[in-house]
Amino acid sequence: MPFKILQKKPKDENFFVLEIGLERVTCAIFKKEETQFKLIGVGRKKFSSHEDIFNSSLEALDALSAIVPDIPEKGILGVSGSSLRTLTTIARYNRPKATKPIDHKETEQVLNQIIENLDKTDKKIFFSTISGAKIDGVYVTNPLGLKGENIELSCFVAFQDESEVELLNRLVNEIDMDVKKMIPTSFAICKLFQQKEVKNALLFRVGSEKSELTVIEDGHVADISPFDLGMNNLTYIQFSWEAALKDLNKEHAPSLIWLLADSAELELEKLKEDLKSYEWHSKLSIPIVPKVEIVSSIHNFSVSDISLYALVQEEVTNEGS
């Protein structure tokens, strides 16, 4: 093979996803095939407390290594639960040059200004984005390239406690992961549902003992709230949506609730019935009972793998942008 030295080494097209979920760590490798990513291996490990996350991640990675020996360095880190807090700030301003298209620099400037003014004591911002916009009174999901004078940008910011972000830093250093993006998993999942064009909705990710509620207003994620109730303790669960929606503007009352199980073993029918029979009008002044749908699969990805699929779509978006 005289010309071997001249042959170009094939580019590594595999991509790594690490998801710190509600009750378990999942790591997965996707292989890029043309414009799509194909799941080629998954490793999972449950954890019971925040302290277990580090060791559980290493064990999940061990399980994955048994299936796919070469773990790619580049990857996306998805986080849920724990001390995750989110905030959506609406930035309103008038543009002096209304005929000039809105560019990346302009949105970044607004976002930076919002972030500078936030109270970041003991917290670290790990993700921020323009989640939605209103241009001259018209809602758009992405303002880039559009023109207008009166602008409202929904600036979505996600925090975690400093100690938890440090733990994740330690973890990615330990496993030599090159994190291209760190994102709340529920945010990524909601982007999949945006294709359904529902304006106001609720994503309810449910675990055995831990869950997460994501409020979608005017088609964009407004708030993500983790809490410590799940299918094992339904007695108090109605208080979770009461608490999450109590200050909601009634114009943004959800018309649809997506129930997404954190693992394939969980049966959500009982919770669906609880949501359907809940007195929305008398308790939360919501006139129409929202429709409740249990998510079973998206694009052939099962319930257990939907979050991974959502996270890897972020990579597709990165490449596309």
């Binding site: 407390s49 925040h50 724990s82 001390s83 807090r85 406690d161 003992e209 509620l213 709230s225 983790p226 809490f227 410590d228 109730l229 303790n233 108090y236 208080f239 979770s240 009461e242 608490a243 999450a244 109590k246 018309s255 006139p287 129409i288 009972v289 429709k291």
Partner: protein
């Protein structure tokens, strides 16, 4: 006030149960060192549960004292050392230097010596035998490969022929099986509930606003007293479309004769309000009005200042037509969904036209008729009762009278035949159905005979044979693996030939 403390072993449920069982109405919860109390929504849930039990909860976020923290840290750091088996003052590497135990002898018996073949020697000139053997082996393997490996898919295209039949049949709840002679099939009654929401635009308009108000002075030129009740109408002399009413009763004393000459006519002031909304009622000062039925020669009113406050605007409201259209649209969509869901749950059924009866269980509009809104939402829950029957049963009844009239050499392909049905009338539990079938006729080809005639034959002779079949209008043969096309014949084994009959368009 009761103070509650939790540690890392407790969870949200422990906290909620403690609050529920606590007798005191005011509770303070110390949050330091507890993971679940760091989540905002957990705290909100705690507050709501407490409120449900008529209790008030407050949170104390003061961190633990350093002494306590130090103690717990010490506990944490010493524990793992014990678990790892370290012993103070001893080197554990020096322990456990015991020799490994000798290997146990196996408890099973040694295997017995087996049967041996007698020695074999090739006769002289062995290479000749080897060459012949190899040739025979290659020949045998080649023969087996040619016989067993190639396969052929033969697709025969026949001309499309259809025959139609229309018949009135009866679908009966009491029938348990198909009765072809009387045209009766069993009827099934199925139920399903469907619900959905629909957002629709409002198209109704309504004018809203306020009426103009002002003050007039009523002049009495008559020589007798004049009284007017509250609500008496006054009409603008210059524009009789503008009417106002008196806000209160008023009386004007009698005036002396020819008072208008000496300007001594009696007057009384009173507030008035326009009878209709809009700015056309904002009249200027000095406007003259006719008062009630009184003659303007004797009594008249005139505005003492500009009238004001009259406004009007057009707004978009929900009309009853909007609600009705939205209901029709959503009902149609639910009917489609119900039909599809029923057919998915009950494979092979047909719901005839008019066989789906809706019963609305819940119908809620987010905005009432006349309410201002650009759009509104309708939520509908409908219970559908479907009269259905088996497609197979229907085909059996419709095909039965056609059999005698099918042309020779043809048979009906039930799978490709299409049926439609519509309810004509209901007779008690039975339905009179108008049913149609477009039966697909395919030539009755003897596949076994065809396989016998083409297996192992050359492409040319297969071509001429298939062309000779009258009912076959075309054919396509695929040999796999394709390398076997090289031999120019169809597989020798009949079992490796698959025949499929399709209809041309």
């Amino acid at each position: 006030m009761k103070a509650l403390k939790f540690d890392e072993t407790n969870n949200l449920i422990d906290c909620l149960e403690s609050i529920k069982n606590e007798e005191e109405a005011e509770i303070k919860i110390f949050t330091s060192g507890t993971e679940f109390l760091r989540k905002n929504l957990n705290r909100e849930i705690i507050k709501l549960v407490a409120k449900t039990h008529n209790k008030v909860v407050s949170f104390d976020d003061t961190p633990k004292t350093p002494a306590v923290q130090k103690e717990s840290l010490q506990e944490k750091t010493t524990a793992p050392a014990e678990n790892l088996g370290f012993v103070e003052g001893k080197d554990i590497a020096e322990q456990a230097k015991e020799q490994p135990a000798p290997q146990q002898t196996p408890i099973t018996d040694e295997p017995k010596k087996g049967f041996k073949l007698p020695p074999f020697k090739f006769p002289k000139g062995k290479w000749l035998y080897v060459a012949i053997g190899a040739f025979l082996a290659v020949f045998l393997v080649g023969g087996l490969l040619i016989y067993f490996l190639p396969s052929a898919d033969v697709v025969l295209t026949t001309e499309s022929n259809f025959k139609e039949n229309e018949q009135t049949i009866t679908a009966s709840k009491s029938a348990t099986k198909v009765d072809t002679s009387n045209g009766v099939i069993p009827l099934k009654i199925l139920n399903i509930s469907e619900e959905d929401n629909l957002t629709a635009d409002s198209t109704g308009t309504k004018t809203t606003g306020t009426p103009a108000t002002g003050r007039v002075e009523i002049v009495n030129r008559a020589t007798s007293d004049k009284s007017f009740f509250q609500g008496t109408t006054i009409i603008s002399v210059s524009n009789q479309a503008l009417t106002f009413s008196l806000d209160s009763a008023v009386s004007v004393e009698a005036s002396p004769d020819f008072c208008w000459v000496s300007n001594t006519c009696k007057k009384a002031g009173v507030d008035v309000t326009a009878k209709s909304i809009g700015d056309q009622g904002n009249l200027g000062v000095g406007t003259v009005f006719k008062v009630g039925d009184a003659s303007t020669d004797l009594v008249l009113a005139s505005s003492t200042a500009n009238f004001a406050g009259g406004t009007s605007k057009k707004i978009t409201v929900v009309s009853s037509d909007d609600q009705s259209k939205a209901k029709d649209t959503l009902l149609k969509s639910l009917e489609k969904k119900a039909t599809s869901d029923l057919q998915n749950k009950n494979q092979g059924i047909i719901i005839p036209g008019g066989g789906l009866t809706p019963a609305i269980i819940n119908e809620t509009y987010s905005k009432a008729v006349g309410e201002e809104a650009q759009n509104f939402q309708l939520s509908l829950k409908v219970n559908f009762t479907a009269s259905a029957f088996s497609e197979e049963d229907l085909k059996t009844v419709l095909i039965s009278p056609m059999i005698s009239s099918i042309p020779n050499g043809y048979e009906i392909n039930k799978k490709n035949s299409k049926v439609t049905a519509e309810i004509l009338e209901k007779n008690g539990d039975d339905l009179k159905i108008s049913a149609k079938i477009k039966a697909s006729l395919v030539p009755s080809l003897d596949q076994k005979e065809i396989k016998n005639r083409i297996s192992g034959k050359s492409f040319a002779s297969v071509d001429s044979y298939l062309r000779s079949l009258e009912s076959v209008s075309g054919f396509d043969i695929k040999i796999s693996p394709s390398a076997f096309r090289f031999f120019g014949i169809l597989p020798l084994s009949k079992n490796k030939i698959k025949i499929e009959i399709t209809q041309g368009t």
